[in-house]
Amino acid sequence: MIRVEQLSKSYGPARAIDGLAFTVDSGEIVGFLGPNGAGKTTTMRILAGSLAATSGRALVGGVDVFERPRTVKAMVGYLPENPPLYTEMTVRQYLRFAARIKGTAAPDVAVEHTIDRVGLGVVAHRLIAHLSKGFRQRVGLAQALVHSPRVLILDEPSSGLDPEQRKGIRALVKALAVDEVTVILSTHVLPEVEALCDRVIIIHEGRIVAQDSVDALAGSGTAIRVRVARPAAEVADALNAVVGVLEVEPSVDGVYRVSASRDVREAVAAAAVPFGLLELGAQRRLEDVFLRLTGEAS
């Protein structure tokens, strides 16, 4: 559905993105991860057609974004980090305007459908200026959805929302994937990526440092967190003696972080029991992977 080839963008001498290449299949949910200033927003804006690339190609549904921008824009819904809202309009007026300039066939029907879908019914008649941050974010999402796009690009859709609102946005995005909508979203919230995305693309300083399925990335290098009642020097030795353990890193409060080449939970538990095993759990690794990849590259 989306194919990006050797995409680069420079702002003067500064390179925002440098030779990006990736593909996204139809109906896939892909997460863009990266520290601030990595080039996520730049990439998304190029795909949405609001920014021209310096070199390289980007195709959406087989159509080149630079050669036929209007065809692509009709297929893409884009929610920038700050939702583009005309605050002096009511929600319904705003969505009607968005539907019309996006060339929707039956704007009024599409607007009512989107209002229902995004759950804006109770505030549809209110001025956007008077809405809470959570509702504004939803209006922004509704704007991106109103013309039934085949591709949805969401730049930090859940930033600044409370956990309940985040859940709402996640449920919406999940529901979209069922309708074969391709979704690219960027986020800082790692659990969100794990909960939502099929695949992750980690960008750092304008380059892709990793792209793989969430499970593959999270599982690379099995990690265990062990907590014992009586921390001592021998604990680390005992854990190190377990076959398959690569590294043991003592932490505070009797916590030890164990990296292993395979699943060693049972053996580690047995080794830790003499020291008063309190807790043992597999650590979700995405955060570690993220920090390691973005740290290594710099």
Partner: protein
């Protein structure tokens, strides 16, 4: 169609902001004051000439009331239109709403024309709200409708030119105040240029907007004057278009 939707949104936005209503009230107040004062002066002059039928015959509505009124309206328009144009692009940049327009399947030309027509629509509403002044004269005499028509044409052409200029300045900055000041000083500069030379054929006077409008206000429609205003508008609409195109490449 998209041009129309953008223009309609602009027009609605003007009427939902305080600026729009302030401009409207200011316009009605100042033009109303002008009219009342001018009618009073005219009445006084005609009374003084009661016993001088030759002089009284030359003291027509059209030359002594309508034409100067248009000249005064032009100056007021020059001051008020920058307040209409300042927000057109600057506010979109500031609020980040430009992103909606840029990622919608519409061309840059449609965006620029939509904004321009929306603002022009508002100014035409302002002009229409002064129609009752010359129309009211019909009760007491026979104003020259040709002069009234060409005067309104002149005001419309002037607003069109200043709106295009203001649209361009607005596309250069996200600060509305900067756009306002730049538009106002440039428009005023173009007005003052006309005073610098007594000879209307002088090139400096030809640059000024006002020297092209004075004849329209007394009922002389010259193609060169109309072309000046239309070309002025077209040039700044083109400049705005180029500016918005370059925005994608920044």
């Amino acid at each position: 169609m998209s041009v129309f939707h953008i223009a309609a949104r602009e027009l609605r936005a003007v009427f939902t902001t305080a600026t729009g209503w302030l401009v409207l009230c200011g316009w009605l107040l100042i033009t109303g004051l002008f009219w009342v004062v001018m009618v009073q002066n005219y009445a006084m002059q005609s009374r003084d000439l009661v016993f001088n039928p030759y002089a009284a015959a030359s003291l027509g509505f059209t030359d002594f009331l309508i034409a100067p009124f248009f000249g005064n309206c032009a100056v007021v328009l020059l001051m008020l239109t920058p307040a209409v144009t300042m927000r057109l692009f600057s506010e979109e940049f500031k609020q980040g709403t430009m992103e909606l327009l840029l990622t919608s399947p519409i061309s840059t030309l449609q965006i620029v024309l939509g904004k321009y027509l929306g603002a022009l629509g508002f100014v035409l509403v302002l002009l229409a709200l002064t129609l009752h002044f010359p129309l009211g004269l019909a009760r007491w005499g026979r104003p020259d409708w040709g002069v009234v028509a060409s005067g309104y044409l002149g005001l419309a052409l002037l607003s069109s030119a200043v709106l295009a200029l203001g649209l361009w300045f607005s596309s250069l900055t996200s600060n509305q105040l900067v756009a306002l000041v730049l538009t106002f000083t440039t428009a005023l500069g173009l007005l003052v240029l006309g005073w610098s030379s007594q000879d209307p054929a002088d090139w400096i006077a030809q640059i000024s907007i006002m020297s092209h409008l004075n004849d329209l206000f007394i009922g002389v429609v010259r193609l060169s004057d109309v072309v000046y205003c239309v070309a002025f508008t077209a040039f700044f609409l083109f400049a705005t278009h180029q500016r918005m195109e370059s925005f994608r490449w920044s």
